[in-house]
């Protein structure tokens, strides 16, 4: 049964990454992906159904908990709901909730209610009503299993919540307040310093003048760096988009970074309402452009290729570097010989198989 854990985990991650790409938290979207992947067939098991259902629910449970991002947690909740109702054991296996996680569940519910995600709240409360939860001490059964095959459960990096504490700290309210206070301070300093000599006035400067704008630019730098971490540096499209971003104002970008936590599609029933109240309206194109920055991963070129591209050596050194080394000459085979050996290796196993067959038939 433990051997099924890895494939189940990779299937769940495949589904959740597709869900993440839709940038939506609607259950309809999730169930379409579920149907497309024919996920319900995962329960086709002839024996040990109970143990399998238990393991599947345990695997899905970890996606419902922090430190994953809100969208992934919604996906985890939908996964739990779907697994609970589609399982083929009776009485059904319950979803185990540990006491230490209850606070997180409650916070999650509050977040979804605040954002008016009706289907998320409906599903969570529906599960509570139909007694799908089992209130336990620890999330899984523990029997001191010293044979730990994987040292640490690997959390998929793409699903993690992007740390956004700089943005949370330096938000618009703070910058407004700071600039106000800075103005007041400057005025007060000016009024006092007019009564003092110039030497004394210079010594009263305690803070930098442009502190507010410096803070904003630092946070924006951090945000841009975060966005760029996923994309490849040489990729052309991202560079274009980054340059277009840099044309916008600092303050608007700050808002955009905070807003990236929210999702563009509101609940079906409340289409007219925005689900997050934002102070400033951003132009529509800019909105979409940075949301699309979530590229899929492009594999990096090898070190040899990167070196060839990036390092330019001129003169004698360049000519020498371009030549193959003596050792390389000694160990490479002639091209014809290399081909021959490759073919031999390919057909070796086939030859052996044919030989053994002929021997057996000759007996």
């Amino acid at each position: 049964m433990e051997s099924y854990r890895k494939p189940v985990k990779s299937d769940c991650e495949a589904l959740l990454s597709r869900f993440r790409q839709t940038q939506s938290v609607r259950f309809e979207v999730f169930s379409n992906i579920w149907k497309e992947m024919k996920f319900v067939q995962i329960f086709r098991q002839s024996h040990n159904k109970r143990a399998f259902c238990r393991m599947v629910l345990d695997v899905a449970y970890c996606y419902f908990m922090p430190p994953f991002s809100f969208q992934i947690r919604v996906g985890g909740l939908y996964l739990l709901y779907s697994f609970y109702h589609c399982q083929n054991t009776s009485p059904p296996e319950q979803i185990r909730v540990a006491l230490k996680d209850w606070e997180d569940v409650r916070n999650f519910e509050k977040e979804s209610l605040d954002a008016q995600h009706l289907d998320v709240a409906y599903i969570l409360q529906q599960l509570l009503t139909c007694k799908a939860f089992l209130f336990t001490a620890m999330p899984t059964l523990l029997h001191y299993n010293r044979k730990r095959t994987e040292e640490k459960p690997e959390l998929c990096d793409e699903f993690m919540e992007r740390p956004c504490r700089p943005q949370e700290l330096i938000n618009t309210q703070l910058t407004e307040e700071m600039s106000n206070i800075h103005e007041l301070y400057k005025n007060m300093k000016a009024s006092i310093s007019s009564q003092m000599s110039t030497a004394d006035a210079a010594s009263v400067s305690l803070i930098r003048d442009g502190i507010v704008s410096e803070l904003c630019s630092a946070v924006m730098e951090f945000y841009n760096w975060q966005q760029n971490k996923d994309t490849v540096d040489e990729a052309q499209p991202s560079q274009e988009r980054i340059s277009s971003q840099q044309e916008c104002s600092n303050r608007a970008k700050l808002l955009a970074s905070i807003k990236s936590k929210a999702y563009e599609e509101a609940s079906e029933a409340v289409k007219s309402r925005r689900h997050r109240q934002v102070e400033i309206d951003l132009p529509a194109e800019e909105d979409k452009s940075f949301l699309k920055l979530h590229h899929s991963r492009v594999p990096k070129p090898s070190l040899k290729n990167r070196t060839k591209e990036q390092i330019r050596m001129s003169g004698n050194m360049g000519r020498e570097a371009a030549r193959t080394t003596l050792i390389n000459h000694l160990v490479t085979l002639e091209p014809a010989l290399q081909e021959k050996i490759k073919n031999e290796r390919r057909f070796k196993s086939l030859n052996e198989h044919l030989e053994s067959q002929t021997i057996s038939t000759s007996h």
Binding site: S3, S31, K100, L118, I123, Q126, K131, T136, A137
Partner: protein
């Protein structure tokens, strides 16, 4: 991993992992239950099935949404939207469908294609048997029903250390107990063959053998949880057998242990770690590992009849040795220096033993030594 920090409550009541996926930090079971009950509404853990209409009405009122929104929600979130083709779904629920993208099914196909081992382990076949019999069982009278909000503990008792085979792999028995049970009741629920051992040679008096069972002779036992020895003091013959260990520990500069009475301690009064091995010792030296694998609130799909608790949900069966004459019954007598027996020593079941060694009046025939034998699998 340290215990979780909760700003309001002391962290010792909220269990967290001491070592990841291994065992939890120690916590008081009664307080754990109180913490859960504080956070839940009574209907969350009641045994009544949830009322869908009431829930929807309340949800609509709380969210301030109208009837058509609710119908929309209901249809979008219904389970039917998850089933792909209801037609050929039922056809072959056990066969792996072709052209599947799910890694789980590919893995399953690979496993099915590999040559199956012809000897399927009986334990896997009957693993859920006891559970199936009792799950969801309702009591005859209301008074016997498990109260809502009661705790259920799953306790694994392992084979005694003298059994080398499954010592730390498979639990011998898995018991479900409620929080209000005492440790003495747990002790009574543990079945160990060493309790049935009879010491002594009984060739001349075979009928007297059952009177001298170790269970009746040596009644002392103790549980060891988190530095406290819980002794069984119910009977006048019981002694405090943990005192030897405590005195030894004191002389060797170990942290001091304390004692308590088994029959006075209920499971909710214990402070234990989930998933950590503890000790049950009886018969002086027969030691069993005890691990509490799970502590949780009762649920309506559990067995709700208190008469059935402590509930045995899993029992591991051992191979038994049969009588050397009939090969049908389990061996009950062990003879040595027996002139009638084909081998020395030799096992007999009760019937064959008496037929071979005693005449119709019950007189001993021939010269032999007979000891009552308790097979390891006697509790199968």
């Amino acid at each position: 991993m340290a215990a979780s920090e909760q700003p309001v409550e002391p962290s010792s009541n909220i269990p967290d992992y001491e070592f990841m996926n291994l065992n939890s930090t120690p916590f008081h079971i009664g307080s754990f239950r109180d913490e859960w009950l504080k956070r839940l509404k009574p209907e969350d853990f009641s045994f009544q099935p949830g009322d869908q209409d009431l829930f929807e009405a309340r949800f609509a009122a709380a969210m301030g949404v109208g009837e058509e929104t609710m119908t929309e929600l209901r249809s979008v979130c219904s389970v039917n939207s998850l089933l792909c083709h209801s037609g050929d779904q039922e056809r072959d629920p056990e066969v792996v469908p072709p052209n599947t993208t799910l890694k789980t099914l590919i893995h399953r196909k690979k496993k099915n294609n590999k040559t199956q081992k012809c000897t399927r382990n009986r334990h896997d076949l009957y693993a859920d048997e006891l559970d199936r019999l009792t799950a969801g069982r309702l009591p005859d009278t209301k008074a016997n029903q498990l109260p809502e909000g009661e705790l259920i503990l799953t306790i694994n008792i392992y084979f005694p250390s003298s059994v080398e085979k499954f010592n730390h792999l498979r639990p011998h028995t898995t018991l479900l107990m409620t929080g209000s049970h005492t440790l003495a009741e747990l002790r009574d629920a543990v079945c160990c063959v060493s309790d049935l051992q009879v010491c002594g040679e009984f060739s001349s008096t075979p009928d007297m053998a059952p009177d001298f069972m170790s269970k009746d002779l040596f009644k002392s036992a103790y549980f060891f949880f988190e530095g406290v020895f819980y002794n069984d003091m119910r009977y006048p013959e019981c002694q405090d057998i943990s005192s030897t260990t405590i005195d030894w520990a004191k002389s060797h500069n170990y942290p001091p242990f304390s004692t308590a009475k088994m029959e006075d301690t209920r499971l909710v009064d214990l402070k234990v770690k989930v998933g950590f091995p503890y000790l049950y010792c009886h018969q002086g030296d027969c030691e069993h590992l005890v691990i509490i694998t799970d502590v949780r609130l009762a649920h309506r799909s559990d067995c709700l009849d208190t008469d059935l608790y402590p509930l045995l949900t899993h029992k591991n069966r051992l191979m038994t040795q049969k009588c050397s004459v009939c090969h049908v019954f389990i061996g009950r007598w062990y003879t040595t220096r027996d002139q009638f027996a084909p081998s020395d020593p030799c096992l007999f079941c009760d019937k064959c033993f008496r037929m071979l060694h005693y005449d119709k009046e019950g007189n001993k025939l021939g010269d032999f030594l007979a000891y009552p034998y308790v097979d390891r699998g006697a509790f199968n």
